[in-house]
């Protein structure tokens, strides 16, 4: 840990030279050294549309699965076998590699009671960490930002994309959505932050403060931008570019505790095999290159990547060689510092279904609570609104 921290400080020093003339850097360095946070960072990856978990981590010898899915299971000789019972989808060589290195932990049957099969509702539940009957307007990471962020930090948390997910919205603090740093910087240029607001209208004061924060974040990111440029080959698509940008930010010394990115297209009601394989291949290649990048910079050990999807899909395939909305799914956790490597819990019991859907074994809020408590070293109970048990993967 010590060596990684010193590496990062060196980067900061270097960038301080590059970023000469800015006032926020010293304040930010001070904030960093007094912060209780260990410098661990979290990357959350959302597979949007409902990834078919049973065709991602495949219990390939299970008779029930084989009987219910005559056309969509990839042929057995192509599967990437993890054990005698379990294999990864053939498109996931990158993830297989991470598994072999002990950088991957697979949690099975993650879900929540009374699951919703609506994309919007279930995504809302995952992002706000609410129960199925509750409506919450802040996200679990937003509440983390509320608790841990201080004004001197130049960035709160970063989401790759045009729209901020509710996951990243707190009551007081919000993550920063951006397509890429240059575009963010360019649109921030019209902000004139030399004019301070002196009136007593609280809403106007809030807007002026927000624009000052934007300007400061945009300047900070622009100055850090491309201190490090990756020479590695990421998948040549939007998700690949986003992961490259995150790696470059981290290695360039951007101090954001959380990054959020989404890969969409998993709503495979028809012709699933090819569509899903393409997406899984993008995902898994990008993750592998990302890990290589961070390892080479000695930053993989204080990085944790968590991947989820709003729901899994029905066990039985439909008539269009696809699958319909289901429940329960795998969650992937990656990093150089895992306590539990490989497969975390038993595979889903396909002989015990709820109306054709898998039952959940691990509540997703336990996964969040574990990450908040053991990784981000914060008060998980407060952020989650109640106490959830810690799982031992980290």
């Amino acid at each position: 840990m010590l060596s990684q921290n010193s590496t990062r400080r060196e980067f900061l020093k270097q960038s301080a030279v590059v970023a000469s003339g800015t006032l926020m850097l010293p304040a930010f360095l001070r904030a960093n050294t007094t912060d209780a946070n260990t410098g661990n960072r979290l990357i959350v990856i959302q597979l949007a549309g409902g990834n078919d978990g049973l065709n991602t981590v495949i219990p390939y010898r299970n008779d029930i699965l084989i009987k219910n899915r005559p056309s969509i299971i990839p042929s057995i000789d192509k599967l990437l076998k993890l054990t005698d019972e379990v294999a990864l989808n053939p498109a996931m060589e990158g993830l297989m590699h991470l598994y072999d290195q002990g950088d991957l932990c697979i949690l099975n049957s993650v879900g929540y009671p009374n699951p919703s099969r609506s994309h919007f509702r279930s995504m809302d539940i995952w992002q706000t960490a609410s129960g199925a009957n509750e409506y919450v307007s802040t996200g679990w990471l937003g509440r983390y930002l509320d608790k841990e962020c201080v004004d001197t930090m130049p960035v709160t948390a970063i989401e790759m994309g045009d729209i901020l997910s509710v996951a990243m919205k707190g009551k007081e603090r919000k993550g920063i959505p951006l397509t890429n740093i240059n575009q963010f910087y360019n649109s921030s240029r019209l902000i004139d932050d030399t004019k301070m607001y002196g009136g007593d209208n609280p809403s106007a004061a809030f807007l002026y403060k927000t624009q000052t924060d934007i300007k400061r974040s945009a300047n900070y990111l622009f100055e850090k931008n491309k201190i490090y440029q990756s020479k590695r080959t990421y998948p040549n698509n939007k998700f690949g570019k986003q992961l490259r940008e995150i790696a470059e930010m981290i290695i360039s010394g951007v101090e954001s505790p959380v990054y959020y990115v989404s890969l969409s297209g998993f709503d495979t009601h028809n012709n699933q095999e090819k569509r899903q394989a393409q997406l899984l291949s993008t995902y898994s290649q990008a993750m592998n290159v990302f890990a290589e990048d961070l390892k080479a910079a000695n930053l993989w050990n204080d990085t944790l990547v968590m991947t989820f999807s709003e729901f899994g899909r029905r066990v039985k395939e439909n008539a269009s060689r696809g699958t319909d909305h289901g429940s329960g799914n795998n969650v992937f956790v990656m990093g150089g510092n895992l306590k539990k490597k490989g497969i975390y819990n038993k595979m889903t019991d396909l002989s015990d279904l709820d109306n054709g859907n898998v039952k959940f074994d691990v509540d997703f809020r336990e996964v969040y609570a574990t990450i908040l408590k053991n990784w981000l070293k914060t008060d998980a109970d407060q952020i989650m609104g109640k106490s959830f048990k810690s799982l031992g993967f980290i």
Partner: protein, 449 residues
């Protein structure tokens, strides 16, 4: 009480979507009652929002070909988008501003999303027609729309397997407010009373007798063989319903923080008039509290208020359907697509770094028709508001003549006060009216109303 320019603007920004300067000017020095009564008269008119709907094919979906199903889904998606755009155009062009604003409020209060355009249109016209009349009638009518029954799963609410969603939200969101004056047991029992409320293939409300639980229920301490109408009547009998509605009004129309005394006065009138909406609103919009300085320009315009308001105030018309959908999506409020059953989260939540920068760049985009680079992605294959690729231009028409006639003779301070709801003291270059307007609209204060 004689109203100033700012106060007249305050009334029109909150009770409607804003007005052009010439109309504002005519009301300066009048009293709040005159403004309100004029709006009531203008709002007697209720134009329905109608789009052309290709009739639903009554064929069993299992017998359709894949192409046929796809084509139908595409058609419905297009129709919902048309309905969304038509409604926005109506907000922009209608003189019945009080009705338009109230319909918008009720869409949030009775938040609902639908995939079928015919039932979405039915729901919309129920809230439009009842927007200013009687809350009890509105509640009864909305509760029986197929759109709402479907959205809150009452189609699945049957005697042998009750679904509590509808009964819960009727209490929590529509009438009493969360955990106010009802128990978990009341929800369970009321769900039994609502069993059998459903709709048929033609999109009409039906009571399915064989699914209705015809036994004794205990609701709010009363004992009887109640049905859905009985539950709604019991909810309207509770004073808490009037309290809850007036609290929501004050927070939405006047101040995020509420105002206990005024809420009580509104609730009294609402309850004693058997829920006459106009009478309740009259108390609000003619009260001296409403015009208090702490309420002026403190509300962050919701995306719809921003998009509609700028077209009403500033001689601009966004002519392109896709542009209107883009703006809603990027700013985070799409009609017929609330984030969940509890509606949109109002207030400071509209603002994050991306939406604020987009809002501040928007005047440039509109007046200079620049390229829009953002394009929000969707995760649902069937998302009815899915967008494809970035928008090339934001197409808008500007009525330069009207703009010049109305604004070019005004002092800088008058134009500033008109656009920003506050007097701005700074000096800026004003050689060109459009540049001046863009400059003012790009200031943070323009986000407030």
């Amino acid at each position: 009480m004689k109203l100033s320019q700012v106060e007249v603007q305050h009334f029109f920004l909150r009770s409607g979507f804003g007005q052009p300067f010439d109309l504002i000017e005519g009301y300066i020095g009048q009293n709040p009652n005159k403004l309100f009564q004029d709006q009531v008269v203008l709002s007697q008119d209720c134009a329905s929002v109608q789009i052309e709907i290709v009739p639903q094919i009554t064929m069993d979906p299992r017998q359709m070909s894949t192409d046929m199903r796809k084509e139908m889904a595409q058609q419905r998606k297009q129709e919902i988008q048309d309905l969304n755009v038509q409604w926005i155009r109506q907000m922009v062009s209608s003189d019945a501003q009080l009705r338009e604003k109230m319909a918008f409020f009720w869409h949030d209060h009775f938040a609902c999303s639908a995939r079928r355009s015919d039932i979405a249109q039915g729901y919309l016209n129920v809230i439009r027609e009842n927007a200013l009349e009687n809350f009890g009638d509105l509640l009864r009518a909305v509760s029986k729309t197929p759109a709402m029954l479907n959205f809150l799963n009452n189609q699945q609410n049957r005697k042998e397997s009750p679904n509590e969603n509808f009964a819960r939200e009727v209490m929590e969101l529509f009438t009493l407010g969360r955990d106010q004056d009802y128990t978990e047991k009341d929800v369970v029992e009321a769900a039994r009373a609502f069993t059998g409320w459903a709709f048929n293939k033609e999109g009409k409300f039906i009571f399915r007798k064989k699914f209705h639980d015809n036994e004794i229920k205990t609701i709010f301490g009363k004992y009887g063989n109640f049905d859905g109408d009985d539950v709604i009547n019991m909810l309207l009998e509770k004073k808490q319903t009037a309290d809850y509605i007036s609290q929501k009004w004050v927070r939405f129309f006047m101040n995020y923080g509420g105002h206990e005394k005024l809420e009580k006065r509104i609730a009294e009138v609402l309850y004693s008039t058997n829920y006459d909406i106009k009478s309740g609103l009259e108390v609000l919009f003619t009260s001296s509290e409403f015009y208090g300085e702490e309420n002026i320009a403190t509300r962050i315009k919701s995306p719809i208020e921003l998009i509609v308001g700028m077209q009403r105030q500033l001689y601009v018309t966004i002519t392109h359907d896709q542009s209107l959908l883009y703006l809603q999506r990027t700013l985070g409020q799409v009609l017929f697509n609330p984030p969940n059953v509890s509606g949109w989260s109002d207030g400071y939540d509209w603002v994050d770094s991306a939406t604020l920068m987009f809002r501040m760049n928007l005047p440039q985009l509109i007046f200079k028709s620049a390229l829009i680079q953002n394009y929000p992605e969707s995760f649902d294959d069937n998302d009815k508001f899915k967008l494809r690729g970035p928008l090339k231009t934001l197409k808008a028409n500007i009525d330069l003549e009207a703009m010049n006639n109305n604004l070019s003779q005004l002092s800088n301070d008058q134009v500033g006060t008109f656009i920003l709801q506050t007097s701005i003291k700074e000096h800026y270059d004003t050689t060109n009216l459009i540049d001046q307007i863009i400059y003012l609209m790009s200031k943070p204060e323009y986000q407030l109303c």
